[in-house]
């Protein structure tokens, strides 16, 4: 009886070690992928620009976004989470990062596209500093693997000056 338990134990242990090694290898091999991302974003229209009752500025934009993220995909990639953030500085905050639009890319075939999108989340400031404010659009991507380490990177795309007056 003992020898059966022992054999089973050895087998399971060996399988687990092998799986662990394979997972590490899969994640390690991702490091050899040096992606080159091309992307572009510009504002087409300011849909709404107002001061909320709370006193915070709120902007809603329509953007033209194009990107080619195909080089991010390896055989260990489950998905790429990509989002466009507006980043700016105010006298109160040294950094404001606000995600305006995000998207989950499931496979390489859908990693190159061009789209006109209304901002999914409104740009809301902590205060009333957005009139004439210079905002930088930064594309962030989060490569989420089937197993192993997640890879994060970003790229500044363009700058935009918000209007001087509310709509």
């Amino acid at each position: 009886m003992h020898s059966y338990v022992y054999r089973l134990n050895t087998l399971v242990t060996f399988a687990a070690v092998l799986l662990a090694v394979l997972c590490c290898a899969a994640s390690f091999l991702d490091a050899f992928n040096s992606p080159s991302v091309r992307a572009h974003a510009e504002v087409i229209k300011v849909n709404r620009f107002r001061k909320q009752l709370s006193g915070n500025d709120e902007v809603s934009l329509t953007l033209n976004i194009s990107m080619d993220l195909r080089s991010l995909f390896t055989w260990n990639t489950k998905q790429v989470f990509v989002f466009l953030a507006a980043e700016y500085e105010t006298s109160k905050n040294s950094l404001n990062q606000i995600s305006l639009w995000d998207y989950i890319i499931r496979d390489k075939d859908h990693a190159k596209f061009q789209a006109q999108v209304a901002s999914k989340y409104p740009l809301i400031d902590q205060g009333s500093n957005l009139r004439g404010k210079k905002v930088e659009f930064v594309l962030h991507w989060h490569v989420m693997p089937s197993t192993g380490r997640m890879i994060v990177d970003k790229m500044a795309l363009s700058k935009f000056y918000l209007p001087e007056a509310y709509t």
Binding site: F83, S94, S99, D102
Partner: protein, 180 residues
């Protein structure tokens, strides 16, 4: 007669020796598991170096049963990071993505807003009533790696305690009865 008695004596001492060895073995297994856990806590700087994903709010990136490896350091929190946070009044830690960051000019404090990739709305509904932002002290770690499926072991054990006791019993028995 003396000869048999002597033999019995030696068998008995052999048995106590074996029992002692097995007790030491068991202790070794338990302590090395503890050392591993505490060591991970030191290296990663977070109280829970690994968490199991319990909900589908981050699908399809993280599925129920995936294990996440966490890390915590003094680096500022930035949009896009997947963080583990505790909200006041709830025991269960939540793993969601940061979608908004406001960092103060003077104090360097951050206001953070999170959202699950698979959720329609941001997490303000999960926060206590009236709380708009998470602060640094709510956040206990950021996810850096993922291992699929392994977490099902703990999910099953938590939901069916009988299986947990069976496994612990079987493992204990195996260690106790193993001979070198």
């Amino acid at each position: 007669m003396g000869w048999i008695g002597g033999n019995l004596e030696s068998i008995r001492s052999l048995q106590t020796k074996q029992a002692l060895t097995q007790a030491v073995n068991l202790g070794l297994v338990v302590t090395s598991a503890l050392i591993l856990w505490r060591g991970l806590m030191c290296v990663t700087g977070t109280e829970s170096p690994v968490v199991v994903v319990l909900s589908g709010s981050m699908e399809p990136g993280f599925q129920r049963g995936d294990i996440l490896f966490l890390h915590m350091n003094q680096d500022p929190i930035r949009a896009g990071e997947i963080v583990v946070f505790n909200v006041d009044g709830k025991d269960i830690p939540i793993v969601h993505r940061v979608i908004e960051v406001h960092e103060r000019q003077d104090t360097g404090e951050v206001d953070v807003l999170t959202k699950g990739d698979n959720n329609e709305e941001d997490d303000r509904l999960l926060y206590p009533y009236g709380q708009l932002w998470l602060q640094k002290h709510h956040i206990t770690g950021r996810a850096i790696g993922v291992l699929p499926y392994v977490g099902w072991v703990t999910i099953i054990m938590n939901e069916k305690p009988v299986i947990k006791y069976l496994i612990i019993g079987a493992l204990g028995l195996m260690i106790m009865t193993s001979k070198e």
